[in-house]
Amino acid sequence: MSNSLLTPEICAQIDKWIAKYPVDQKQSAVMGALTIAQDANGGWLTQQWMDEVADYLEMPKIAVYEVATFYSMYEHKPVGKHKICVCTNISCLLRGSEEIVEHLEKRLGIKMGETTPDNKFTLKEVECLAACCGAPMFQIGKDYHENLTPEKVDDILNRLE
């Protein structure tokens, strides 16, 4: 076994989530903990990270795998620095998400689900992110970008490091 990935700082962050729930229901913090783990690992989860979260929350490992594979915000393969989650669900589709996807793929030279060779961008197709009023939309990091047009997309990407 290599040394624990959960440093005291990471544990302290997870503890904040644990504190939000009844004392005997530590496992309620699993989603928060996985997000912290994923951020600490550069945007994706490994089995070791999931196992350590399981041990820390005293839950069966398989139960953590279930959560981590159910929700689409958890990644199980390396991703680029900026993960662009493009909504292609019904409202966005009706408002032209296809054009956005096409534009992104062309500009970045990769297909949905792929990462640019310089590891800067990953494209990901996602379901409704509950921002239908601003369709079409995508999410980068923690930010939502709505009412997208190809020009607006270029503008957003140009401003990213």
């Binding site: 229901q25 496992q27 069966p60 398989i62 139960a63 279930e66 594979t69 159910f70």
Partner: protein
Amino acid sequence: MITIEIDGKSCQAESGQMLIDVADAAGIDIPRFCYHKKLSVAASCRMCLVDVEKAPKPLPACATPVMNGMVVRTRSDKARAAQKAVMEFLLINHPLDCPICDQGGECELQDIAVGYGSDVARFQELKRIVPDKNLGSLISTEMTRCIHCTRCVRFSAEIAGVREMGATGRGENMRIGTYIENTIDSELSGNMVDVCPVGALTSKPFRFTARAWELQQRDSVSPHDAVGANLHFHVRRNQVMRAVPKENEAVNEVWLADRDRYSYLALQADDRLTAPMIKKDGVWQTVEWETALKFAVKSLHDVSCQHTSAQLGALASSTSTLEELYLLQKLMRGMNCQNIDHRVRQADFSDQDVAPLFPYLGQSLSDLEQLDTALIIGSNLRKEQPLINQRLRKATLADRGLISEHVKANMMAINPADYDFNYPLKAKITDPSLIKALASVAKALGADIQAESCENGQLIAETLKNGQNKTLLIGQFVQNHQQASVLKSLISTIGKLSGSKIGYLAESGNAAGAHLMGVLPHRGVSGKAIENKGLNAQQMLTEGLKGYLLLGLEPELDSRFGATALETLKKAQCVVSLTAFKTPAMLEYATVLLPIALFPETSGTYINGEGRWQAFNGAVSPAGEARPAWKVLRVLANLLQVDGFEYASTDDIRSEIGSFHLETPIADNSQCNPLPNTFEIPTSNELQRITEMPIYAVDAMIRRAGALQKTTDAQKSTGIVLNAQQFAHLQGHDKIDVSQNGQTFELTFRLEETVPQNCALMFGGQMLGNWDGFLTVGES
């Protein structure tokens, strides 16, 4: 009680009961996949949709509590349409190739599809494919067939108590499995094959060897632990193809331990003895029964003539049937010999005259579920008695496996190593001698003894005192301990002072029978005291006799004396072994090998730990020339001119045994030697050896069940286990030298926190020195 109407039939029900249970009780069939009466309700498959009056839409019968006056139709157009639609969706991704599926012919999906499905598929698109997993040596997978009922997931969380299976991914990408490559290591894992309604999880040893409709079902009883699980053997052309549970709520409910399920594999073991053999002038030869029997009789006769019959001894396996054990002791006693025993793992016999009549569980198996407090003493219970442990788990946890799971009973353990339990323990003491721990509990309860008190001892005493329905369970480490009598006195005292029942965990499915039949040197049938006591197993196996009669036993592996037993037997003038197998060791020490039937091949009776008599018939005929041991013993007795052996069947023997009126035997488990005031605990600066008889080595059949031997549990029961901190410096070595009493073995080792400092855990069922004592280890 309320009344509801299902399909025009009026049914009585408890309010709040699920509709499907009420329908089942009334014999009304509602199709289902995810529902299982022993598991929590998932209500995920929707196959059980029925039409309930006043409900706008069909309701799932497995998750609909009944209400007074409810009117239910399971076959109305509305119900039918719903069922048909669900069926169609379930079959979208399921392969329609039943002829090449192992489950074909006994598949719930196939049956229900015939009853409720449509005759043509409308689905034109591609079906999904799911890669198979390697779950170990017992379960095969074909995950493309999985219908996501989650029965196996719920089984592993709720019953097996180790959450090994799960549902990862979602929607079309949802998959049932372990996610990472992982074997299923539960001792109850085979039950997943039973709960899986389709051919996704099947039995690896059985897979593709027979079709359900070719099999005949024969009932039997498993002898490998105190439960005596009821099972069905499935037989084709006189061969046992598999074993499945036979439902008996009072005994095994609907489950089997893997040990019960896969022991049949030993029937076909490579070293099966299929013809009698004798050793003449040092050379083994296969002979006719008549020759072998005469040879055996002559050699036994020679011993008693040249010496006395006190130079003979009989040792039996306690997995033998009641009838066999009865005849064995009757034969020996007919020859005026009292050297009879089956307690080959016991070390301390000093309380045998006062010991309880038989190793009685002290309560019924189902009573265990009602306990609110239990102290497990000297047992790796999960592995020693898998289904008893399952009952205790039920007693301990409400809503098992669910988020609302909570503890409702106080379980505690005193063990030589820190064994894993699949339910929370309120308190535990890990102490290799066990004496100190028990003494501290007894002292805390007010016993007048000299003992150190300890915090956990206090807590255990307190908890026992406060419990209502409570028991102390005595496992193999106590029963086989060098100071077992002292331990039992302490336990009896604790029982008395705390008002707890005492229960023995019998080492096998007929240990009770062996006691009651008087396969003991000091007691006859029904426990009648014998005046001229014979030698016990330890004396017979270490001091040496001229002649031995062995019944289903491999003393070198079954007993605690291993190599010593082997040496002792080798020196004997004659060893007549009634055995189903032939081993190199046996060929060294035996003079006659008489092939006998294994339990699936013979009729007989077993008495389980709760004193329950369970009779069974043979499922197949014995291998080759083998004969049921009772017949062999009968002929031996006839030839030895011992009277009273005119039995035509096991029924005849049973009715003779019946005259002793032991059908509901009572044992007083508090009986023991007087409690000493001070305790001697052997100490040494060497490592104290702790020996566990591991789950897959307990008897000759289990040791030969190939699939069980490949499990993680079996692989882990080899070599030596040492304390991780104390022996950290050994890390990196493959093997170490272990010395005990001047003998040295080279062994593989593992380092674990569970073994206390200054101790070494080793495993029985091998020829590696005697079971206890002290040893040293060094780099090899």
